[in-house]
C-alpha cells in the first residue's frame, strides 16, 4: 500500500507546489509543497499556527493564495472559492464543522447542493431520506432529524459534518481534526470509515493533533512548522519520537525527505 503510494512514476491526485500566503507581515504558509495520491492517507501535523489549516483551506477554496500552483491529477486546477473545490471532488470537514446551527441535519448535509422536485422546490422528504441513510451508516443511534443542529451534541454535530463530506462521492477528502469532539467509540467509527474510504481509492488529508491517530491511520506524514514544511515521510520509515522531534525542533530524521523548513 505505502509502497505504491509513493511511487514517483504515478501522477499524484493532488499536487500543491510552493504555496505561500501571508497575512500582513506574517507568513502563514511559506513555500509549502505537498502531494496526495489516490488511496492514501496523508497526515498533516504541527503545532497550532504551523500553517496546516491554512494550507488546507487554500486547497478547499476557503482562502486565496499569494503564489504557488495546485494540480489535480496532473492538470492545473483553478480553485478560487469553495464551489470550485467541490467541482474537483474536494470535500472538507472543517475544524469548526461549518454547520448552520439554525437548520436541521438534512439541510446542512445538502447545503449548496439541495435536491429539488420537478417544480424546482426543495425536496425535503428526499433529502431527509438520504440523510437518514448516510447518518445510519455513520451513527446508527442518530434520530434527531427534525431538530436544528444547535440542539445536537458535539459528537452528533461532528457526524453531520463528516456525513456531508462523504455524501457526494468525494475524490479528495480533507479532514481537519475529525475526531476532536468524539468519544472513543465514535472516534473508532471514524477510523474505520477512513480505512474504508481509503480502500475505495479516495485520497485523504488528515490533520490531527493526536500522534497515535496519525500512526494508526496515515500512510505518510507531513510536518509543518512556522508555515514551512519540515519534512515528509512514510509512516513506516519514522518513529513517533522522530515525528515529535520534527514538530518541536524542526529536525528532519534520516527516514524523511526534508523540506524548506528543516533545520540543518
Amino acid at each position: 500500500m505505502t509502497e505504491r503510494s509513493i511511487d514517483a512514476s504515478r501522477t499524484p491526485l493532488v499536487a500543491m507546489r510552493d504555496i505561500s500566503l501571508s497575512f500582513g507581515g506574517i507568513h502563514a504558509v511559506d513555500g509549502a509543497s505537498i502531494d496526495l495520491y489516490a488511496g492514501e492517507v496523508m497526515a498533516l501535523v504541527g503545532h497550532n499556527g504551523a500553517g496546516k489549516s491554512t494550507l488546507i483551506k487554500i486547497l478547499s477554496g476557503a482562502l486565496p493564495r499569494d503564489s504557488g500552483t495546485i494540480s489535480i491529477r496532473g492538470e492545473a486546477a483553478s480553485i478560487a472559492n469553495p464551489r470550485d473545490a467541490r467541482s474537483y471532488g474536494i470535500e472538507t470537514i472543517y475544524q469548526t464543522l461549518a454547520l448552520a446551527d439554525n437548520v436541521d441535519a438534512a439541510a446542512n448535509l445538502f447545503l449548496g447542493r439541495e435536491l429539488r422536485t420537478g417544480w424546482g422546490t426543495l425536496d425535503d422528504a428526499a433529502m431527509e431520506a438520504a440523510a437518514r441513510n448516510v447518518m445510519g451508516r455513520l451513527n446508527p443511534h442518530f434520530q434527531r432529524f427534525k431538530d436544528p443542529v444547535r440542539a445536537l451534541s458535539g459528537g452528533q454535530r461532528q457526524s453531520v459534518a463528516i456525513a456531508r463530506a462523504i455524501l457526494f462521492n468525494a475524490q479528495i477528502l480533507v479532514m481537519d481534526e475529525p475526531t476532536a469532539a468524539l468519544g472513543p467509540q465514535e472516534a473508532a467509527q471514524v477510523g474505520a470509515l477512513i480505512r474504508k474510504l481509503k480502500s475505495d481509492g479516495i485520497g485523504i488529508f488528515l490533520i490531527s493533533h493526536d500522534i497515535h491517530d496519525v500512526f494508526d491511520l496515515a500512510d505518510r506524514v507531513c510536518v509543518m512548522k512556522n508555515g514551512r514544511v519540515v519534512g515528509t515521510a512514510r509512516i513506516a520509515d519514522v518513529t513517533k519520537d522522530e515525528v515529535l522531534g520534527m514538530i518541536i525542533l524542526g529536525k528532519c530524521p534520516p527516514g524523511a525527505t526534508p523540506g524548506p523548513g528543516a533545520v540543518a
Binding site: A62, P82, T92, A100, G112, A129
Partner: protein
Amino acid sequence: MIVLARLLKSTELDTRLIGMVGALFLIWIVFHVLSGGLFLTPRNLWNLSVQSSSVAIMATGMVLVIVTRNIDLSIGSMLGFIGMVMGVIQAALLPKLLGFEHPATWVLTLLVGLGLGAALGALQGFVIAYLGIPAFIVTLGGLLVWRGAAWWVTSGQTVAPLDATFRLMGGGPEGSIGATWSWVVGVVACVAVVLSLARSRTQRQRFNVPLRPMAAEILVGGLGCAAVLAAVAIANAYPWPIGSVRRYAEAHHIALAGGGLSIAHGIAVPVLIAIGVGVAMSFLATRTRFGRYVYAIGGNPEAAELAGVDTRWVIVKIFMLMGVLAAIAGAVSIARLDAATNSEGTLAELLVIAAAVIGGTSLAGGVGTVPGAMLGAVLMQSLQSGMVLLGVDTPLQNIVVGAVLVFAVGIDTVYRRRAAP
C-alpha cells in the same frame, strides 16, 4: 384540561404563533371594551386590514433581511420616492402619451415602479454585499437619499388625482371585490388548507414519520377554515357607505328604493395583495433553495460560504426583493391616498422592523417567519388604530407603541432563554 393541552400539543402548531394570535385577540377585546364596542365591528376590522397591508407587505421582506443579520432603514424613503415616480408616470407622463385613463396605464406604472424598486434594492445590496459596507450605514444613507429624491421628482408638489384603475389597489368601496368573489376566495383558501394538510399527511406516510392524530388534523383544518370564512363574513358584513351607493346607482341607472341598496365591501384589494405577497414570500422562504440559503446565511455566514453558497449574490437578491416589496407597498399607499406625496412612508421602516421583530424575527439572525411578521404588522396597526378610536393623542400613541415594542421583545427573549436546550 389535560386532554385539551395534549390535543393542542399534538397539532404541532408553533406555540409562539398561537401566543401572538392570543395576544392580538386580547388587545382587540381590551380596545373593544374601552371604546364602548367600537373596535370589533366589521367596519373597524375592515379598515384595520387595509391599514395593515402596506406594512405587512414590507414586513415579509424585512424578515429575510433581518434573518441574514442585515437591516434595511431605507424602505420608507424608497416607498416615498417610488410612489412619487409612479404618481408622475400615471398622472402626467402616460396621459400625454396614451391619453387620459388608458387601460394600460396602471400596468405600465406598476411595472416601472417594481423595476425601480428592484434597481434601487440591487444598488444597495451590491454596495452591502460586494463592497462590504454595513447594511445599517448603506440603508441609513438610502433613507436620506431616497427621501431627497422623492422631493426632487416634482420639487415637492403633490401629484393627484391618480388613474382610476390604479386607485383600486388602495381599497375603498370600489377597490374591494364584493361579497360573491370574497366567498370564492374564502372557499379556495379553505380547499388549499385541507389539501395542504392532506399532502403533509401522505408525505409523512411515505417516509414513515409518525402521523398526527386525526383529531388534531381535524382541529387544525377546522380552525383554519373557520378563521378564513369568519374573515370573509366580516368583510362582507361591512356595507358601502350611502354616498358610494348613490354614485354607483346613478352610474348604473338603478333606482334606489326607500331603504337604499346594501352592497357589501368584501375583501379589499390591498388586503388581497398583502395575502398574495405573504403566501408567495412564505413559499420562497420555506420551499425554495433561495430561502434555505437565506436561513443558512443567518445561522452561520461562514458555513454557508464554505458550503459553496454564493452568499453575496443571495444578499443582493434579498435587497432587490425588499425594493420590489417597497414598490408594491408604495403603490398600495398612494392608491389609498389617491395622491403621491414626497412624505409618503415616513418612518415606515421603523414600523416594518418593529412588525418583523414583534413577529419573532431575531435581530441576531437566523430566526424569523413570514406569517409571524405579518401578524406583527396587524398587531402594531391594531394598537395604533385602537388608540385612535379611544382618542389618545399622537405623542402618547408613540409612547405606547414604543413601550409595547420593547415589552414584546423582552417577553420573547425570556421565553427563548427558557426554551433553549
